[in-house]
């Protein structure tokens, strides 16, 4: 059972990762664009228990750290996604007002995405990675949040379906 869950979840994340790197990353989307992989990770965390969310955040972080376009050290994305995935699941798990309302989920993922980017930048600065200018950072963070706000509702039904498929549950959002 556990193996099946890991297998399905791993395959889904690997496919989204490839789609992000091979397709979405190639489009010159203005204002920093968006990451369907990050959105998937945060949505998955919002639908899971804190323990599963932390595990998923760890796996997704490792994949992002291994991405050729990542400049930070291995473990950088992992650390941020473990913490953020756990935090999302911790706040939403058991709260039907939060988890049962698609608007709440979308807003939570959008906010989490912005926090993830800012955290990545701040921890990157502490690890000695040169940051871009403040204006560019602001454009990227705000632009990404707006894109996430648009893309998340489109991805939500598919992610809920995939999550149900992996965990044999019936989520009602």
């Amino acid at each position: 059972m556990l193996l099946r869950r890991f297998g399905i979840t791993g395959t889904i994340f690997a496919l989204f990762f490839i789609a992000q790197e091979a397709v979405i990353g190639q489009l010159n989307i203005p204002a920093g664009g968006f990451s369907i992989f990050l959105i998937l990770t945060l949505l998955w965390a919002a639908l899971s228990t804190p323990e599963i969310a932390a595990g998923v955040g760890f796996g997704a972080g490792i994949l992002l750290d291994l991405s050729p376009s990542t400049s930070g050290p291995l473990g950088h994305w992992t650390l941020i996604l473990v913490l953020m995935s756990y935090a999302i699941a911790f706040f939403s798990y058991g709260d039907e007002n939060m988890r049962g309302n698609p608007l709440s989920v979308v807003l939570m993922v959008t906010l989490a995405q912005a926090i993830v980017l800012v955290s990545y930048l701040v921890t990157g600065f502490l690890l000695g990675i040169t940051a871009t200018s403040f204006s560019q950072t602001l454009i990227t963070v705000i632009g990404n949040a707006l894109w996430t706000l648009v893309v998340t509702p489109l991805m939500l039904p598919a992610v809920v379906w995939l999550h149900d498929l992996a965990f044999d549950s019936r989520m009602r959002i």
Binding site: Q26, G55, I129, S133
Partner: protein, 312 residues
């Protein structure tokens, strides 16, 4: 029971955080296994990126065409109707022509400087979400490309090779905020440091406070020891504005790069630099205004023949 579950969750969280910090420490200490993992991921992703590039190129070209419709909308609209059936073929041809044009200009530049180059297609762009500016090219160590080699386009400096794999390489663009290059001003030979800003412009800081710069000055790469990471003489950009801040130790300026980073299709890696520094030979020639011929007409007044003059 519930406390037990919460404790397990917290323990798992702590273990995952410690694992992440362990990985960061290993990476910062330069453990080879991690480089190998990244290389493996890159090698595994390359075919997907190539396929994505092949599929997306017509779409990107189409979007690019559409965004330029504003100026001559009516004319383009007519042409679009006439050429609807041939659009796909035309886009493909335009793409090839553009690549040939870029390649030709690179060869012109490299030929003048006697650089030995390896040309490559850009197959992927790094995500700006990670606040870096990189591209991936379809040539790697198999063609003689090594880390820290200069990358040029037909217009000038593009960046420097950051990572090399068997069949591909990652290039840090000159627009990356971490990018720095020593430059000199063509003609006056003043030297300075140019730093990327994350956009198509860069910041120039002169090293000598006795020298001055002016708008329009052309910057060339100063060159590094053994021509790595930078070969000398490559055109970099042009000064667009000069900052004369009171109290500043040296002058600084904003520079616009010659290379068009939004339309990089083909680039070249300089695998061997010439023994002789090309000096200013690669600097783009400033346009000289065409003199307009002037005609001067001299008019000599003729003697007056009025009746009053005659009576006098």
């Amino acid at each position: 029971m519930r406390n037990g579950g919460e404790n397990r969750g917290r323990l798992l969280l702590v273990i995952l955080i410690v694992s992440s910090l362990f990985l960061i420490t290993l990476d910062l200490r330069g453990v080879n296994l991690i480089d190998g993992l990244r290389g493996g991921t890159h090698t595994a992703l390359s075919p997907f990126q190539r396929a994505g590039n092949v599929v997306l190129t017509p779409v990107k070209n189409f979007v690019n065409d559409v965004t330029h419709l504003g100026r001559t909308r009516n004319q383009i609209e007519d042409l679009r109707k006439q050429n609807l059936k041939l659009r796909e073929q035309l886009i493909s041809r335009k793409n090839q022509d553009g690549e040939v044009e870029q390649l030709k200009s690179i060869l012109d530049l490299a030929g003048t400087a006697r650089f030995k180059i390896v040309s490559a297609k850009v197959i992927a762009q790094g995500s700006s979400l990670v606040f870096t500016r990189t591209i991936t090219i379809d040539a790697g160590s198999g063609t003689g490309i090594k880390k820290n080699m200069t990358v040029i386009s037909g217009n000038g400096l593009v960046g420097v090779v950051k990572e090399v794999f068997a069949n591909s390489a990652i290039v840090m663009l000159a627009t990356d905020p971490a990018f720095k290059v020593g430059v000199r001003i063509a003609g006056s030979q003043q030297i300075g440091i140019l730093a990327g800003l994350g956009s198509s412009t860069a910041n120039l800081q002169l090293l000598d406070n006795q020298t001055t710069i002016k708008v329009g000055d052309i910057l060339l790469a100063r060159g590094s020891n053994n021509a790595q990471p930078f070969v000398p003489g490559v055109p970099v950009g042009q000064v667009t504005s000069v900052s004369n801040a009171a109290g500043a130790v040296t002058q600084s300026a904003t520079v616009k790069y010659f290379a068009n980073f939004g339309a990089l299709g083909v680039v070249s890696v300089v695998v061997k630099a010439p023994k002789a520094d090309p000096r200013d030979a690669l600097a783009p020639v400033k346009p000289v205004p065409t003199p307009v011929p002037t005609v001067t007409v001299f008019v000599t007044p003729s003697p007056s023949t009025s009746p009053s003059a005659a009576s006098n």
